[in-house]
Amino acid sequence: MIALIIRDLRISVRAGGGFGLSLAFFFIIVIFFPFAIGPDLDLLSKVAPGTLWVGALLACLLSLERIFALDFEDGTLDLLATSSLPLESVVISKALVHWLTTGLPLVLLTPFFGILLGLQNSNIIFLIISLIFGTPALSIIGTFGAALTAGMKRGGLLLSILVLPLYIPTLIFGAEAARRGIQGFETQNSMLLLLGVSLLSWAILPFAAASVLRINLR
C-alpha cells in the first residue's frame, strides 16, 4: 500500500503527471472572481469563504479523472486487482495521493489567496481548518466517482455530474463553518458536522468504490 502511494506520488510529480495543474486552476478562479464581482474588498471578503470553497471543489474535480483512467488503460488496475493487495486499500491509497497532491497544496496556499480576496485578519484560520477537514472528503468522494466511471470513454463530464451532488453536504458544512468563523460566530457545530461528513465518507466509500471497480474490471 505504501509502495503504491509512493509510486503514485512519484508519477504525479514527474513530467506530465498533472501535479500543479489543479493548483493553477484554483489560482485562476480566485483571480477571476474580483474581475466578475468588482474590486470592492469589503464585498469580496464577504464572498471570499464561499469563493475559495467552490474554487477548491472545482480544482479537486478537475483532477479526479486521472485517478483511475491511466491505471485502467495500461492494465495496472487488472494486475493490482489480481495481486494480494485488496482493492479497498488501492482505493484508499489513490484517494490519499489525490489529497496529498491536490487538497493539501490548496490548503497551504489558501492564506495567500485569501489576501487577494480581502481576508486579512486572523480569522482566516477558520477557513483553513474547514478546508483541512473538508478536502479529504472531496478526495474520497471523487475517488468513488472516478471508480464509477473508470474505463468509460468521455467519462470526464459524467464524472462531474455524478460527483457534484455528492459534494453538496461537504460544501454546505465547510463553507458554513468558514463563513461563521470569519464573521466571528462560534463554529463548533458546523466544524464537527463537517468532520463527521469526512469521516463517514472515508468509512464507507472505500468499500463502495472497490466494489464498483471490480464491476468495471469485468
Binding site: 509502495a3 508519477i11 495481486s83
Partner: protein, 182 residues
C-alpha cells in the same frame, strides 16, 4: 493441469481466450464450471503491460516487487535481459523492451500458476526464445502456466495444446443474464 505442465490456448480471434484467462484470474464471474485453485497462487498478465512511462524500469519493478513482497529485482532483471535498462525511463524504451519489463513482473510474484495472454506480442526472436526458456524453468520448478498465443514457444513435450474452438462449438450458449429473459 498438473504442476510442471503448460497449457497453450489456441483458437481464432474472439473465441474467448482472454475471457477464459480473466475468469481464471478472478476478474470475471464464471458462468459454469469450477476453478480448483486459490486465487493467491495465480498471476495474470494481460495485453497491457502495466508499466508507467514516466518511471524508470527499476522504479516500476521495485513497485511490483513491493506489492508482491518479493525481495530482490536484480536477479529477475538479469533473467529477462533488462539489467542494462534499469535506469532508463520506460517511456524511452521500444515496445519489445517494454514488454520484457512487463513480463519481468511474473518473476517477481513468486506465484505458481501463470496466466499469460499473448505474452510474445512485439518480442523479437531471441527474446521469444529466452522467454520460452524462462517458462521451461518455471515449469521445472513445479509451476504451471496457461498461455494464449499463436507462436511456438519451444515448449515441446511439456505443453498441452487446448483448442478452444471445440469447446466453443460444444457450449455455444447464452450468457446467464440473457437467459433469464427467455
Amino acid at each position: 493441469m498438473k504442476n510442471g505442465q503448460a497449457g497453450i490456448l489456441r483458437g481464432p480471434n474472439g473465441v474467448g481466450k482472454t475471457t477464459l484467462l480473466r475468469a481464471l484470474a478472478g476478474l470475471q464471474p464464471v458462468e459454469a464450471g469450477k476453478i480448483k485453485c486459490s486465487l493467491e497462487d495465480i498471476c495474470y498478465s494481460g495485453h497491457a503491460d502495466g508499466v508507467k512511462p514516466t518511471l524508470t524500469v527499476q522504479e516500476n519493478l521495485e513497485f511490483w516487487a513491493n506489492i508482491f513482497s518479493s525481495p530482490s529485482i536484480s536477479e529477475v532483471a538479469e533473467k529477462f535481459m533488462i539489467i542494462d535498462l534499469l535506469n532508463s525511463k520506460v517511456g524511452n524504451l521500444s515496445a519489445g523492451q517494454k514488454r520484457r519489463v512487463g513480463l519481468a513482473r511474473l518473476g517477481l510474484t513468486g506465484r505458481q500458476v501463470w496466466l499469460l495472454d499473448e505474452p510474445t506480442v512485439s518480442l523479437d526472436e531471441t527474446s521469444v526464445k529466452i522467454f520460452g526458456n524462462i517458462i521451461k524453468e518455471h515449469l521445472s520448478e513445479d509451476g504451471c502456466a496457461l498461455i494464449a498465443t499463436h507462436i511456438d514457444l519451444g515448449l515441446e513435450n511439456r505443453a498441452q495444446i487446448i483448442d478452444l474452438l471445440k469447446y466453443k462449438a460444444a457450449s455455444g450458449e447464452l450468457s446467464n443474464s440473457n437467459e433469464a429473459f427467455l
